[in-house]
Amino acid sequence: MSITQILFWFLSVVALFSALMVISSKNPIYSVLWLIVTFFSISGHYILLNAQFLAIVNIIVYAGAIMVLFLFVIMLMNLNKETEPPKNRWLKMAGAVAGGCLLLVLVAALKDTDIKQQHALVNEGNIGLIKNLGKELFTTYVVPFEISSILFLSAMVGAVVIGKKE
């Protein structure tokens, strides 16, 4: 087993475990922290796939900015205690079963996919470098890029409309 493979398995196990912890932690703060761990492990995967730009953005934007925002809101609301009353157990079970079934169905559907023999290029390939992505982004993808600015404008207006005290 090469180091890449070891890393892959390690990161995968961490991602899955931390994801499970996200949904099972009683305390919202822990959930947030576990989610950050998940993001970090996913970023690790990105680095493994030589997608450095995304790895960095993931950490900066997601693990950094967004999760801090979450933490901030949770703190603001004083939800850092284990306040969540137990949900109806049957409903919880049903939810878990349904999600599990979906997983099963998807796995069953995709296990025989025609591209299962193919490989993802690991550690190599430079398309994930900031230079190459940037070039593409500002040439071919400039229109979507501009469009996303409209999205941001509307989100901004929205946040103001919603957040502003009357």
């Binding site: 559907a109 591209i115 207006v157």
Partner: protein
């Protein structure tokens, strides 16, 4: 392209107008004029005049279908604003921002009606939905509005997740985000492809509120401020339908054997849930929410059939449905009481309004000589052309008969029951616009070619 850019600009203009203009009426008139402008530039684009030459790298295509739909959507929005813009004042203080958001949504509508890439589809849908979350929750101190907003948000992002997973799987199977589908389909298509398609089907069904992904609809439509429900339920929904049919037409036409049955089931379920559940509603607004699900079921038949009739029909359907529903919501927004009993005796107090409302309801119910009939007719005709679809067609008309039940309850209340319902305030313009809508519906019902010639132009 004209509309996309100018409406984005207008959105920004409206943003600034909130602190540059003091008078609400000025803002309103500016917005209405803006929509008028958009309609004109769209018409120019249909005529071949494009102001902005942008290299979109094949990601967007403003074909006739898209432009014609844009025209319908813009006309609807125009009428909608003329009828209901005044009512937005009641919602909250951010009057100009609402218009800004509507303009941004129009951007999204332009995108989803003309996308050629999943990326644009994704962005377009997000541009539509994010402002909608806000508009839904814009009545900030109203708990129902809050609740609707949060429900909409949670379920909406959830469905976005599904859509993205679908897009990712499709990308895996095909290596591109372009919707133009050039692959040769083997006997057994790749499971990756099929799974991705189905996930997309789910998320699109969610956006158009098709069962069993409709659950958000009644609550959100009910909770949102009525003026915005009107917009959401008509123009936005129609746009997503256009996206839906476009997506499946472009990308999955060759996968028909894979999706036809599924869409058939979803269509039938939508018709069933929408119509059956609407029967027992007490609030007209909530009934209209269910009715919009039911109408979505009919529009799903266009997706199901996916032939030329279906596309033509969907255009007529969106027009017919939007016009009628906008009219009804506009009147509803003026009612002090949203229950059916609140309409009792309206015909005596406001004969004109009641008359136009009747036409709108008849159109929704699919009575001949209204656009609604022709729309349904097209749907049935399109579906009938698909082999083995008779069960769906019969089921659809049975449900159409059920729909008569709840639409006519309003007519009964207005005409045959005693009561003294009245509107809060009705301006002359309001009435004239209602009449205009009525005329449009009837004209379209008698001469559908007025619209369709533009399609074949």
């Amino acid at each position: 392209m004209n509309v996309l850019i100018i409406s984005a600009v207008l959105g920004v203009v409206m943003m600034f107008s909130s602190f540059l203009l003091k008078q609400n009426s000025t803002i309103r008139n500016l917005a209405i004029a803006g929509i008028g402008l958009l309609f004109v530039v769209n018409a120019l684009e249909i005529g071949g005049t494009v102001f902005f030459k942008v290299n979109v790298h094949g990601m967007i295509l403003f074909d006739r279908f898209a432009l014609l739909f844009n025209a319908i959507a813009l006309l609807s929005t125009f009428l909608y604003l003329v009828l209901s813009a005044r009512d937005m004042e009641k919602v909250g203080v951010n009057y100009a921002e609402y218009f800004a958001l509507i303009f941004f949504i129009l951007c999204g509508i332009t995108l989803v009606s003309s996308f050629k890439s999943f990326l644009i589809l994704f962005l377009g849908i997000e541009i539509i939905t994010i402002p909608l979350y806000i508009l839904t929750g814009s009545d900030k101190r109203n708990l129902k509005s809050n609740e609707a907003s949060l429900k909409y948000f949670l379920l909406g992002t959830f469905s976005t997740g599904l859509m993205l997973m679908g897009i990712a799987l499709l990308y895996g199977a095909r290596g591109t985000f372009s919707t133009t589908f050039v692959d040769v389909i083997e006997v057994k298509p790749s499971p990756l492809l099929v799974t991705g398609m189905i996930l997309l089907l789910f998320s699109m069904s969610f956006k158009v509120s098709a069962a069993p992904f409709h659950f958000w609809t009644p609550d959100v439509y009910d909770g949102a401020p009525t003026v915005f429900t009107s917009f959401m339920a008509t123009i936005v929904k129609a746009a997503v339908f256009i996206a839906f049919i476009r997506l499946f037409d472009d990308s999955f036409e060759k996968l028909q054997p894979q999706w036809r049955l599924l869409i058939g089931i979803i269509t039938a379920a939508t018709l069933f849930i929408g119509n059956i559940t609407a029967v027992f509603q007490q609030s007209v607004k909530r009934m209209l929410a269910y009715s919009s699900i039911a109408q979505a079921g009919f529009m799903m038949m266009a997706v199901f059939a996916m032939n030329n009739d279906a596309k033509e029909g969907l255009l007529i359907y969106t027009a017919a449905y939007s016009f009628a529903t906008i009219g009804i919501f506009a009147v509803l927004a003026k009612m002090p009481d949203y229950t059916f009993d609140g309409f009792n005796g309206l015909s005596r107090k406001q004969p004109l309004v009641a008359g136009t409302l009747t036409i709108f309801l008849l159109s929704l119910a699919g009575i001949p000589l209204t656009a609604g009939f022709l729309a349904k007719f097209y749907m049935l005709k399109a579906a009938m052309a698909t082999p083995g679809s008779l069960w769906l067609v019969i089921f659809a008309v049975l449900m159409a008969a059920v729909s008569v039940y709840y639409y006519f309850r309003i007519i009964q209340a207005m005409y045959f029951k005693e009561g003294d319902a009245s509107l809060i305030t009705v301006s002359m313009v309001f009435k004239q616009t209602l009449v205009l809508l009525t005329i449009l519906i009837v004209l379209l019902g008698i001469f559908p070619n007025l619209l369709l010639t533009w399609y074949y132009f």
